[in-house]
Amino acid sequence: MTSIEPSVPVVPTTTAVPFEGPYPPDRHVLRDLRLESEAGPDLTARGWIDISDALRGPTGLAHPGALATLVDAVGGGLAATAARPDWIATADLTLHLIPRPGISRVEAAGRVVRAGRTTVVLEVDLTTDRGVALGMATMTFAILPRRDGNPVIDADGARRRTTMAREGSGFTQTLEAATGLQVVDAATGSVQLPLTDYVRNTLGAVQGGMMAMTAAVAAEQALGVAAEQALGTAAGVHLDIVDLQVTYLALAKVGPVASTATILDLQPRSGTALVELTDAGSDDRVTTVARARGVRT
């Protein structure tokens, strides 16, 4: 298993294989997010990340990709507990945000809405460090038969808090730079995310939160250019992504993940884009579709 430096160039990697060692590896986006979490026996869980300057956009809002990754991590742990002894894969993730600039910490509180034979559905409430509502998320997980290599979830009834952070964890550059995400063509929402250990999930594919981040960045780029053209300005227009509806169709196992965005709607202060994510190294297989809504805040 290799680790990467944050500034590595975008290169395709080998076909994904599940992690053999502890997950996540020492250098991983969940560690740099300094994710703390705790879960209890009542199928609820909470998680926290700090929003440093590197995780804020031009208008001071928290990066939707960071929030989606927090939601995915908290929800994933909760769903894995609910699905024991089987394992899970993210089927869909929705994120709805209320713009709150300048926050420094986010709490995600998740609860299971339904735990069935084939799926787990849950809700996640997001609040600021001052207890102010920041948004809501929902997730559906498909239950998969347990395979060798899937993590073992301990659930002894005790509620304890753990942290992903290691010494030196944290962002010194933007989420895009840290993950190696590159904008190829902003107007068409074309971005690329390499599949590295830094963004892998336990199945060896790109983590669900990172797919959501890629979709959010693709939509933000395309909507920004479209708004700029509509307003006839070259000054730059930024729309903050406040809604994400992400449907996962297949795992991105090879990479890089490539995006295209189609503008569905553009108003003076808002817009909606449809984003398609493909696995470029796997015959451009469509892995994810997402609708993203941006607003000028």
Binding site: A91, D92, T94, H96, I98, P99, V113, R114, T118, T119, V121, E123, A133, G135, M136, T138, T140, A142, V242, D243, Q245, T247, L249, A250, L264, D265, R269, S270, T272, L274, V286, V289, R291, R293, V295, R296, T297
Partner: protein, 269 residues
């Protein structure tokens, strides 16, 4: 589960009321399908602001994408588990067109895209979404259809057709909630409350609780069937932003031990 699949007419009341025709396109093949449809942009389906009600759009989406998923799932059939729809422009001239296609067909779930357009405005986009459905095995076997399938609705009499709110029987249950009874005309072929009726109730409840004109965005998770009724949709307003109120709507079957039926996140404006 007792179903109405042996009766090809069962569960078609909502389709007739909405006036939509659905047609399977292409050669029937296992594991995939494409369905197109059309419906009049009738007055009884319009919201107070004059646009087509989001409840009607959600019902079109659920019906077209559900049928598409069901055909792909044969010899199984499907129930809706998650409907996501974003309305772009509800000021529709009509007629309304819609198209559903399979994005992914798995053993346990089918994911279907759905696009709704305004045929009277050069097929301008009205709404765009995704339906995820769970694959089940009907107790009496799957529905038997001639393929390619066509489900046609008879012409509507505008004078005798009640407004959507009245058709649903939606009534105020509180300042933040609406309720309806599960009448036979609101049941689907599984014998449970039609997903479109649940979605329309969510739309109406959000507007009722906030005074907003319309729902513009809806994510709806169906978590258990509505069997008994009355069914209540209760709204929590989670915050305001530039494009409207962000709401959480909870739908419960009061007659079935107040069981949670659905959870929705909506934006109304």
């Amino acid at each position: 589960m007792k179903t109405g699949f042996d009766d090809p007419d069962a569960g078609r009341s909502i389709g007739r009321y909405m006036g939509f025709t659905l047609r399977e396109v292409g050669e029937p093949k296992p594991g995939t399908a494409r369905v197109v449809g059309t419906a009049p942009a009738a007055d009884h389906l319009r919201a107070p602001d004059g646009g087509i009600a989001m409840g009607a759009l959600l019902t079109f989406a659920d019906s077209a994408a559900g049928l598409c998923g069901g055909l792909a799932a044969l010899p199984g059939w499907v129930v809706s588990t998650n409907l996501m729809l974003r309305a772009v422009n509800r000021a529709v001239i009509g007629p309304i067109g819609f198209e559903a296609a399979v994005l992914r067909a798995g053993r346990q779930a089918i994911v279907t895209s759905v696009v709704i357009t305004d045929s009277g405005a050069n097929d301008a986009l009205v709404a765009d979404g995704v339906l995820t459905s769970a694959v089940l095995a009907p107790a009496g076997g799957p529905p038997v259809y001639d393929r390619p399938l066509v489900l046609a609705a008879p012409p509507l009499d505008p004078e005798a057709t009640p407004h959507l709110t009245d058709f649903l029987g939606a009534a105020t249950a509180g300042a933040d909630s609406l309720a309806l009874e599960i009448t036979d005309q609101l049941r689907n072929p599984w014998g449970i409350l039609h997903g479109g009726a649940t979605a329309a109730l969510v739309d109406l409840a959000g507007c009722h609780a906030t005074g907003a004109a319309a729902t513009t965005d809806c994510v709806l998770h169906f978590v258990s069937p509505g069997r008994v009724g009355p069914v209540t949709a209760t709204v929590q307003n989670r915050g305001r932003r530039a494009d409207g109120h962000l709401l959480r709507v909870e739908v419960r079957d009061q007659g079935n031990e107040d069981r949670l039926m659905a959870v929705a996140i909506t934006t109304v404006q």
